[in-house]
């Protein structure tokens, strides 16, 4: 067995003492040790984006990030966004525009788009499309995901 290491990690505003194998990914730590199962394992090699979380606010692939390398940085998962128990404006737009079907890619899509919309106040549709280059969806053809994000942009104006 790979040697276990002990450290603390900050996730969604709380600090957790964990003991995981030194080669454990952040995705494994989140899902199996902290039971934060919102981030998904779709390909486990950094292609599909279903595992997207934020590290110090920047989108990152949890499946490609070694848990032990997170250090003092703050991790945010889908469970940690928005006000307690309420959907964000983007999540509401996803629901109202039918931007999810099976829902498996949705947490990653939301985390990716939330960060992009935070950093880009008024992107157009093609900029939003380009921002999804790291997120795969097999169900929607991306149309309604872009509709939802555009609705958020429009509401800001």
């Amino acid at each position: 067995m790979t040697e276990k290491i002990d450290f603390t990690i900050a996730v969604n505003g709380a600090r957790h003492a964990v003991s995981v194998p030194s080669d454990a990914t952040l995705l494994r730590l989140l899902r199996e040790d902290l039971l934060l199962t919102g981030a998904k394992r779709g390909c486990n090699q950094g292609v599909c984006g279903a595992c997207t979380v934020w590290i110090d606010g920047a989108p990152a692939r949890a499946c490609l990030t070694l848990a032990a390398n997170v250090g003092e940085r703050e991790v945010t998962t889908i469970e940690g966004i928005g006000e307690q128990g309420r959907l964000t404006a983007l999540q509401e737009a996803f629901v109202n525009h039918g931007a999810m079907q099976c829902g498996f890619c949705t947490p990653g899509m939301v985390m990716s788009l939330e960060a992009f919309l935070r950093d880009n106040p008024a992107p157009d549709r093609s900029a939003l499309r380009a921002s999804l280059s790291g997120q795969l969806c097999r169900c929607t053809g991306y149309s309604k995901i872009l509709d939802a994000a555009m609705a958020v942009v429009k509401d800001r104006k």
Binding site: G42, L87, G98, M100, Q101, Y142
Partner: protein, 769 residues
């Protein structure tokens, strides 16, 4: 119809939206149990080999291993669909590289995987057969030596390496071609495609306190899953409880498979919960693909473009096990005429075993392959006869009152209207800005037809004591939104707000029977069962209300908000009043039920020659037409679909937002088949690209702007007039894209995917491979 609430026709936000948007939806891999073990599968390194023995000693020595099972431990039963040729784990012989030969349960995933690698199997390698051509040679190694002894559930003629043969004929095309002004003849080929569900297949198996086996899975039918696990573990079906978890995409790739029985078996051996969630690599290696196809097709028309005859020969590569191959072949044959009048037709097909991953059910079910060939060929005929491709299709479009290939009457259908609206939408779209000099633009069209009526389904609607309602169906919402759509039908009839209607989860104990969430049939088939069940409940409630109000039941009406009133009076009772009364009069709140099996007109076997058709009754024809506008880069050979239009004969859209979602997603799924997706095997039978890094799914930047068009001509047999839609948007778009590329380049490519290499070869005028 109610437009402004939860009823039919309303753009109701899907009910599972909040849990999915917030990450709370629970898929199999999100579940755990106290004491749960993790499973891993040992896989064959050969595409064909005899198994001479197993040495488990090194694997068993590993700390944390709780059980290992192999084909030697197994009183095996061959299972399958129409042809029962497969065991959950290889017994005596492996027939594709990656095939499960043993499985391990261990305390954690890493240990299970290490143990699987330490299992030593003594193989005697055999010569693999990788292509249908090789499999059909007279001296080819036989993949299933005992084929003739396998059980078949329908009449068929498997022989040698041929899994199944199907033929339909209406007239003699050889004679008819002599009278044609134009005849096109060519061979078209399509490739293996992976379903690409974002969630890999997975199952959690456990033994409950009553010693029953509980399998919770990402699956498209709990009832078929229950049947398969019970059969493979040799227990009564009642001893298996099958539960659907949230399903992270299906597309035909989440039916009952080998992994469910393997996990259940390990749970029984260890008496511990066992989770088996496949890695993406293993999933791609051991589940299934879309059938690769080679299609010879010949079509003739008169000088005015009226289609007179067609002859088709289809060869499908079925891989190592039959799975649903006979059925896929049969549908391809049945749909080989497409949505057109062609008076003389013949279609002959076969599926061939090879030493590769099994091919099976996949969105479109043989139809994208045959439609790629037939709709490409129509454009070639249009070019030969000097007729506009859309006009050619309009001239030949099937009309209500016509018959299908097979003699089934077409009762409703909006093929002409789909083509008209599609063309009008495309022609009124704003012009694109000028393209760079090395970009060639083209526009291509394709028509399509598909079925949505098949087999059996049922529903229950139960009144609760407070007047709220619980809807039960065996149909699983695999993302398409059936939970929302079926609830809207129920809400419309009972005039209840959506929050008063809950859905049972789908498990085999509680859910009324449903064959499968498949074949574009849930809205049409299960929808009809929901309408029946809800009307049945309404009738029971009205009878109670009439007695309570001392009124004639025929004068009663349902009013919004759960009220039953005597028409024209202010006398009324609430659903809650009725529910409370029924408890004391009939022993419990009322239950309405509905069930049906597809009941449309059958194939006319007296007048059409039909052999090896692996369906009982199938029908419910729905039509569509698709258009792609492409840009071909003549330097790089790349094809970009800029815009796409897609018009569909939906009968009645129960929820337009969800219907559009099916069109948009299905279209991009077909775009992947057309342009970038391909499973590739090397000469030894090794799948060369079993990962998302190496197998390319369409990304957002490859998806076009899509303009869905819902053509609503209600079907009197459908629930509220609705027809099915799930597969249709995947069916025509590969041909539409190929036709657009042909228009842009002047060159016809008859092989998918349209890779840059093939496009450049075509542009350069060299012989296509």
């Amino acid at each position: 119809m109610i437009q402004d609430d939860a009823g039919v026709g309303a753009r109701v936000p899907r009910f599972d939206g909040p849990r999915k948007a917030s990450g709370r939806a629970r898929y199999v891999d999100d579940m755990s149990r106290p004491g749960m073990l993790h499973a891993a599968i040992a896989q064959s390194p050969y595409a064909s080999a005899r198994i001479k023995g197993y040495d488990l000693s090194r694997a068993l020595e590993l700390e944390g291993v709780r059980a290992i099972v192999t084909g030697a431990d197994y009183a095996f039963r061959r299972v399958g669909g129409t042809l029962r040729d497969e065991t959950m784990i290889a017994v005596g012989k492996v027939r594709y590289m990656g095939e499960p030969v043993a499985a391990v349960a261990a305390v954690d995933q890493e240990t299970a995987e290490r143990a699987a690698q330490l299992i030593e199997v003594d193989y005697e390698p055999l010569e693999p057969v990788i292509t249908p051509d090789a499999a059909l040679r007279p001296d080819a190694p036989i993949i299933h030596e005992d084929l003739s002894s396998y059980v078949k559930t329908l009449p068929g003629t498997p022989h040698g390496n041929v899994v199944w043969e199907t033929e339909m004929a209406d007239g003699d095309p050889d004679e008819a071609f002599a009278n044609c002004a134009h005849v096109a003849e060519a061979v078209f080929e399509t490739q293996a495609q992976h379903h690409g569900y974002m969630e890999p297949n997975g199952v959690l198996a456990e033994i409950d306190e009553n010693d029953r086996i509980v399998v919770t899975a990402s699956v498209q039918s709990v009832h078929m899953l229950q049947a398969r696990v019970a059969e493979e573990l040799d227990v009564p079906m009642s001893q298996v409880r099958a539960v659907a978890a949230e399903v992270g995409g299906g597309f035909g790739g989440k039916h009952h498979t080998n992994i469910h029985s393997i996990a259940a078996w390990l749970a029984r051996v260890t008496r511990r919960p066992v989770k088996l969630v496949l890695s993406r690599i293993t999933d791609m290696e051991i589940q299934k693909s879309r059938h690769p196809a080679r299609i010879w097709i010949k079509t003739g028309c008169d000088a005015e473009g009226r289609l007179l005859a067609r002859d088709v020969r289809i060869t499908l590569d079925g891989g190592a096990y039959a799975d649903e191959s006979p059925n896929v072949l049969s549908l391809a044959v049945l749909l080989s005429r497409g949505p057109y009048r062609i008076p003389v037709m013949r279609a002959r097909g076969r599926v061939v075993y090879t030493n590769k991953l099994r091919a099976g059910s996949y969105r479109g079910f043989g139809n994208p392959q045959i439609t790629f060939a037939s709709e490409s060929q129509l454009d070639e005929l249009a070019l030969m006869s000097g007729i506009d491709p859309v006009d050619l299709r309009l001239k030949n479009a099937l009309q209500p009152g016509d018959t299908w290939f097979g003699g089934q009457p077409i009762q409703t259908g909006a093929m002409t209207e789909c083509l008209r609206q599609l063309r009008a939408a495309r022609e009124s779209a704003p012009a694109l800005p000028p393209a760079a000099p090395h970009i060639r633009r083209g526009v291509g069209y394709a028509g399509l037809a598909h079925t949505c009526g098949l087999l059996g389904t049922s529903a229950s609607v139960q009144l609760r004591g407070d007047g709220s309602v619980v809807l039960g169906v065996g149909a699983i919402d695999i993302g398409q939104g059936s939970g929302t759509v079926l609830t809207q039908m129920c809400a419309d009839i009972l005039k209840l707000p959506a929050e008063m209607i809950a859905r049972t989860g789908v498990n085999s104990d509680a859910a009324p029977f449903n064959w499968k969430t498949a074949a574009s049939r849930t809205t049409y088939m299960t929808g009809r069962a929901v309408v029946q069940a809800t009307e049945n409940l309404r009738t029971c409630m009205v009878e109670h209300a009439a007695e309570m109000l001392e009124a004639d039941p025929d004068t009663m009406e349902i009013r919004p908000g759960g009220v039953i009133a005597a028409t024209g009076t202010n006398k009324s009772v609430t659903f809650a009043d009725v529910a409370m009364r029924s408890m004391f009069r009939t022993g419990g709140p009322l239950i309405g039920t509905g069930s049906l099996v597809y009941d449309g007109p059958p194939i006319d076997r007296a007048n059409v020659r039909v052999e090896g058709m692996a369906f009982g009754n199938i029908g419910g024809y729905a039509f569509g037409a698709q258009c792609a506008e492409v840009e071909v880069d003549e330097i790089l050979g790349t094809v970009r679909v800029v815009r796409a239009w897609s018009a569909h004969d939906v009968g009645q859209a129960i929820n337009p937002t969800l219907a559009e979602g099916q069109i948009e997603g299905g279209l991009v799924h077909g775009l992947g088949l057309a342009l970038c997706e391909q499973m590739v095997w090397d000469d030894d039978g090794r799948l060369a690209n079993p990962s998302f890094a190496d197998y390319r799914l369409p990304g957002a930047h490859e998806a076009p702007e899509i303009f869905p068009i819902l053509v609503e001509e209600p079907d009197p047999t459908g629930p509220f007039g609705a027809k099915g839609l799930g597969e249709m948007p995947t069916v025509g778009i590969p041909a539409a894209i190929a036709n657009a590329v042909a228009q842009a380049t002047g060159k016809r490519i008859r092989r998918l995917p349209l890779t840059p290499e093939r496009v450049l070869t075509a542009i350069d005028g060299e012989e296509s491979e």
